[in-house]
């Protein structure tokens, strides 16, 4: 959360800002075609190839080079499957292709979380209510204190430990996310209401565990423990990587949070404004962007969640230019810097109070460009 208040725009400016972003969206929608289809198929082919190769090598996992290469290939396969393919396909980014293989509602990913529950907690709850305290359950995932405005409790002394565990077992954390366990604890929801969801989580989780921890290891015969270890490592690598990228999306220093009252009756322009100020980008090379599922372009993703993510890099150029003109911050930095600030926040917020940060800066004058503490976009 930022220590400065976000720059304010007049209603007219917000409308104009929204129209400019709408225009980008419409232009891309009209241009969707073979290029996008070929891209996602190429990524799918690479992922399936890496998976087959990785699993084949892990059948010989008693040989150290095979273990290393197999684990690496399977890790990359799982990351591609969950991020550049699964996350993006499930947003409906490729629904226009009318192909069952990339249909957002039909897609299942290589993760313990049933995709149906993910679509609800992520596409709907998180993307609609991004960074609204009390509404966006991705703030802290119900287990962490990620904002000063979450009331401190001695439980939060374990914030860094919980974060490390969540990172390591992220797929299971995500699988349990839509259950809203915190509501069960406070009595706002009953276990009996969640029976259907629990059944789905059990069914999906069991199939995933059976494949990674029983069937493929057993096929390796005496080498089973090595295969098991390779699969477990690949899952953990994917978990930690996904956790890092996702936590860099909304929690680095400079991202803003909003209250329910502030966002009531939001216009399209205000919605875009909140998405921009609540998100942060990661800088890096082309491979880094693909491996992050283009969530490194978190800002563009939150402005245009259903446009094919491989286009975000192009759109970012325009978005930065628009932000500069409206005097809006564009939060962007390399992974080590952004993740460093997330870790700092996790540690600070383990302690009571606001983590000892500076008090909020005074409200800037409406409509005036504001200097922000993060990287300012080039005009």
């Amino acid at each position: 959360m930022s220590t400065t208040s976000p720059p304010q725009l007049s209603p007219e400016q917000l409308d104009a800002f929204g129209r400019e972003l709408d225009a980008i969206r419409e232009r891309v929608i009209a241009d969707l075609g073979e290029r996008d289809a070929a891209y996602i198929r190429r990524i799918i082919k690479a992922q399936r190839g890496l998976e087959i190769g990785g699993r084949a090598l892990l059948e010989l996992a008693f040989l150290p080079p095979a273990w290393l290469a197999g684990t690496a290939a399977l890790s990359v396969s799982k990351i591609l499957d969950n991020m550049e393919i699964g996350h993006n396909v499930m947003h409906g980014q490729y629904d226009w292709m009318n192909d069952a293989a990339v249909n957002g509602q039909a897609f299942e990913w290589d993760s313990a979380c049933p995709s149906e529950q993910w679509r609800h907690s992520h596409n709907y709850m998180h993307h609609t209510h991004t960074n609204i305290l009390g509404k966006d359950r991705d703030i802290g995932y119900g287990v962490l204190r990620m904002s000063e405005d979450q009331k401190w409790h001695p439980y939060y002394l374990g914030n860094p430990v919980y974060a490390a565990l969540l990172a390591l077992f992220f797929q299971w954390g995500v699988a349990l996310h839509d259950l809203e366990v915190e509501k069960l604890n406070t009595g706002k929801a009953k276990w009996s209401d969640k029976r259907g969801m629990l059944k789905d989580i059990w069914r999906k989780g069991r199939r995933q565990a059976l494949k990674d921890y029983a069937l493929f290891p057993l096929l390796a015969g005496p080498g089973a423990p090595f295969t098991f270890a390779g699969n477990a490592t690949a899952n953990a690598v994917r978990n930690v990587w996904a956790f890092m990228i996702i936590f860099c999306g909304h929690f680095p220093e400079g991202t803003h949070e909003f209250t329910l009252e502030e966002t009531e009756g939001e216009t399209r322009g205000q919605w875009y404004y909140r998405q921009l100020l609540g998100s942060a980008n990661l800088t890096g090379g082309e491979l880094f962007h693909v491996m992050s599922g283009n969530l490194s372009h978190q800002i563009e993703h939150h402005l245009f969640p259903d446009l094919p993510a491989h286009r975000y890099a192009e759109l970012a150029v325009e978005v930065r230019e628009i932000c500069a003109r409206y005097g809006l911050p564009y939060n962007s930095g390399p992974l080590h810097k952004q993740f460093g600030s997330v870790v700092k926040k996790i540690v600070k917020l383990a302690l009571p109070g606001d983590g000892g940060e500076e008090p909020d800066a005074p409200e800037p004058v409406a409509g005036e460009p504001v200097a922000v503490e993060r990287e300012l976009v080039a005009a």
Binding site: I52, N98, D99, N123, T128, K204, K211, L215
Partner: protein, 369 residues
């Protein structure tokens, strides 16, 4: 055959529970299709093995469907899906081949100037391409008990299902009397002219008559369908079973002739329906009716979002943000035109996915809800 055995064994292994558990959650198809695009455990896919362009407008594809194909009855149609500029389009085509040529299916498409799929196939279809098929559907088919006397009438691209009937009967060595009346613009526009002539020459029970609407006096029949043509064909509609397929004008003329004689029971017709109109006047709301196909509910259409209207009709489709972000409400529009409430853009494509919270109907719309 020896070559069949390893193939069957491979298929059994791929269809096993173990293979399914190892490839979860994507399934076996999603891996095998990367090297064998026509392979699927359940879906019917077919490889194009030959492409023929017999006339200036038509293209004839010979397809080899995969093992899931269950064959067809002569006269039925299939849904063919092809991908054009990244988008999968599905259209109905009737096989024109004999139902007894088990492993091959022949389809003929006629490119319509305002079409999408047929002009694409005419211009771009190549041997080696893989397409998706449905199983055969439709009641417009030869009865299992073959009729003693058969009258086949077709116009333009409507020739395909009756061509399949003629070829199937000839293949069977059927002895009953068959009259085939075909209407086209001129003799150069008949995709099966040579094949028809060969069948008529080789089978004494087949009588073939052409009517050319744009080049009068050149065919055996004069102009458009008329009662006199039945006498020319030497067949009595009261005795024969009749199958007719073609454009609306031809079918209307045939229907009214049969109705005048009280012979509706002896007539089967199939009309090739055109996809929804490509242009809608001004994009304004045009009153129509809403049909929710799966639940069998109908409602009068308004300018409100389809989601609001579905809920007003007592349905509770899945929904989330109600502002076009989350895609929870995405559903299949089977037919009709819709307007995107955010952009005003109108979409008329049949069988496409739409977000019902940000789309309103323009005229009649059918949704898969």
């Amino acid at each position: 055959m020896f070559t069949q055995t390893p193939q069957r064994l491979t298929r059994r292994v791929l269809a096993s529970k173990l293979a399914d558990a190892l490839t979860t959650p994507h399934g076996v198809d999603r891996y095998v299709e990367l090297v064998r695009p026509a392979f699927s455990l359940r879906e019917v896919r077919a490889q194009v093995v030959a492409v023929r362009r017999a006339t200036a407008r038509s293209v004839t594809l010979t397809l080899r469907p995969n093992d899931n194909w269950q064959g067809f009855r002569a006269g039925q149609f299939v849904r063919l899906s092809v991908e054009i500029d990244g988008v999968r389009h599905t259209r109905c085509y009737s096989p024109a081949s004999s139902a007894h040529v088990g492993d091959l299916v022949e389809l003929t498409a006629h490119a319509r100037p305002d079409g999408v799929v047929s002009p694409f196939l005419r211009a771009c279809a190549q041997p080696g391409a893989v397409v998706s098929l449905s199983q055969a559907e439709g009641d417009f088919a030869l009865p299992d008990e073959r009729p003693e006397q058969l009258l086949l009438i077709s116009g333009g691209s409507g020739i395909t299902p009756v061509m399949a009937m003629l070829r199937t009967l000839c293949h069977e060595g059927h002895r009953g009397q068959i009259a085939f009346l075909h209407y086209a613009r001129d003799e150069h526009d008949v995709a099966y002219r040579r094949q028809l002539a060969e069948l008529a020459a080789g089978h004494a029970n087949v009588r073939l008559l052409h009517g050319y609407t744009r080049s009068p006096g050149t065919g055996e029949l004069d102009g458009r369908f008329a009662r006199a043509h039945l006498q020319a064909a030497g067949i009595d509609p009261a005795q024969a079973l009749t199958f007719a397929c073609g454009p609306t004008g031809l079918l209307d003329a045939v229907r009214s002739t049969w109705a005048q004689d009280g012979l509706e029971q002896r007539l089967h017709v199939e009309q090739f329906s055109a996809p929804a109109p490509a242009a809608v006047p001004d994009g304004e709301h045009v009153a129509g009716s809403l049909r929710f196909a799966r639940s069998g509910v109908e409602a009068g259409g308004t300018a409100a979002s389809l989601l609001d209207q579905a809920e007003a009709a007592g349905l509770s489709p899945k929904s989330g943000c109600r502002m076009g972000i989350c895609h929870t409400c995405t559903c299949r529009k089977l037919e009709g035109a819709v307007r995107d409430l955010r952009t005003g853009e109108i979409s008329t494509a049949p069988d496409e996915l739409i977000q019902i919270c940000v789309n309103a109907p323009v005229g009649d719309v059918t949704l898969d809800i």
